[in-house]
């Protein structure tokens, strides 16, 4: 045979029977990966739950130092990015390249917005000595809040958990931005269509999971 690839679409690898089987296998692999991600975060959620059941009043008081409106804004931003990535998949399925690219770029910008808000939250904490671990030394007064009054036993544990959980979540947002850059470039090259959009679908699944983690982090750390 002159061209061994002439009898099947370019995206279909030889070890799969059909595009459908290849799509299902990739998606199932993604769900398995998402379960490992859930278990990674569940270790930190367990740490949170154990310390909260031991020192509920310390957690309730320490949460006062976090700004629920910035956290709420970031929740809306991530929900909007989940919406745009779902729209992007919708447009990929409808062979609408323009709609796909616009929504992927919007998703990237929402992710960037999230990290910018997070940067301002972190620096506001660092200015007043609210660091994770041994460096924890809250001091100073800002907006009528005397940080020194929050230097109570086990507040250090709350803020260590806060920084580790939001930090690892923020790293996932950063990875997501890298993924969407890659997917957007491929979309611009016209590599995706209703017949093949597996990378868009799987990056979307990853992104929705990052959103779900934040859906739980937000009330646990900022509200209750």
């Amino acid at each position: 045979m002159a061209n061994p690839h002439s009898d099947h679409p370019a995206h279909l690898q030889h070890h799969f029977v059909s595009s459908e089987q290849q799509f299902d296998a990739a998606k199932m692999g993604m769900w398995l990966f998402l379960v490992t991600e859930i278990l990674l975060f569940s270790g930190m959620f367990v740490a949170y739950i154990v310390y909260r059941t031991w020192h509920p009043e310390v957690f309730a008081k320490s949460a006062e130092l976090l700004n629920p409106f910035l956290g709420g804004l970031n929740t809306i931003v991530l929900l909007a990015s989940s919406f745009t990535v779902a729209l992007g998949i919708h447009y990929a399925q409808k062979d609408n390249k323009k709609g796909l690219v616009i929504n992927l770029v919007l998703t990237f910008l929402f992710a960037l917005t999230f990290l910018v808000v997070k940067y301002f939250e972190y620096t506001a904490k660092f200015e007043h000595g609210v660091f994770p671990g041994a460096a924890f030394d809250p001091h100073g007064v800002s907006h009528g809040v005397d940080y020194a009054t929050y230097n109570i036993p086990y507040a250090r544990q709350f803020f260590s958990i806060y920084f580790v959980m939001t930090g690892i979540h923020g790293f996932h947002v950063l990875v997501g931005m890298g993924l969407f850059t890659w997917i957007t470039i491929r979309a611009l090259k016209g590599e995706f269509s209703s017949a093949y959009y597996t990378p868009v679908e799987n990056c979307g699944l990853y992104w929705h999971l990052v959103d779900i983690i934040w859906i739980f982090l937000f009330p646990l750390l900022y509200l209750i």
Partner: protein
Amino acid sequence: MSHAEHHVSSIKLLAIIFGGLVFLTVTTVLTAQLDLGSFNVPLAMTIAIAKASLVVVIFMGLKWDNKVNSVIFGLGLLFVAVFISFTLFDTLYRGDLTNTTKGTIQDQVLMEEGLQSREPAPSTLQPDHTP
């Protein structure tokens, strides 16, 4: 073509779900400002679970997906539940680990007996009635 079987969520449905998620976020921020006593935590968690369910079922498409993916996800959640509950079986029932004394139980008994032998007779403990 087989790909025609893939479910395509309408823009209207996605927009309704997004609206619902924003509504639930505003609700959880507002209800957290109220003092509901012990109901604040369960309420916030119920709203978070509702939001996560909307994302998983509609945005991630588990509703229309191959059922094996729902099984994988459900097994993941099962192990998270085991992880949390079995850890709490330990940490919730440890008692007061700081409430310890020096020496063995035998030392404690001997010391107690020593103190009892020095106990004054009950008659000497009568209240003094002299003005």
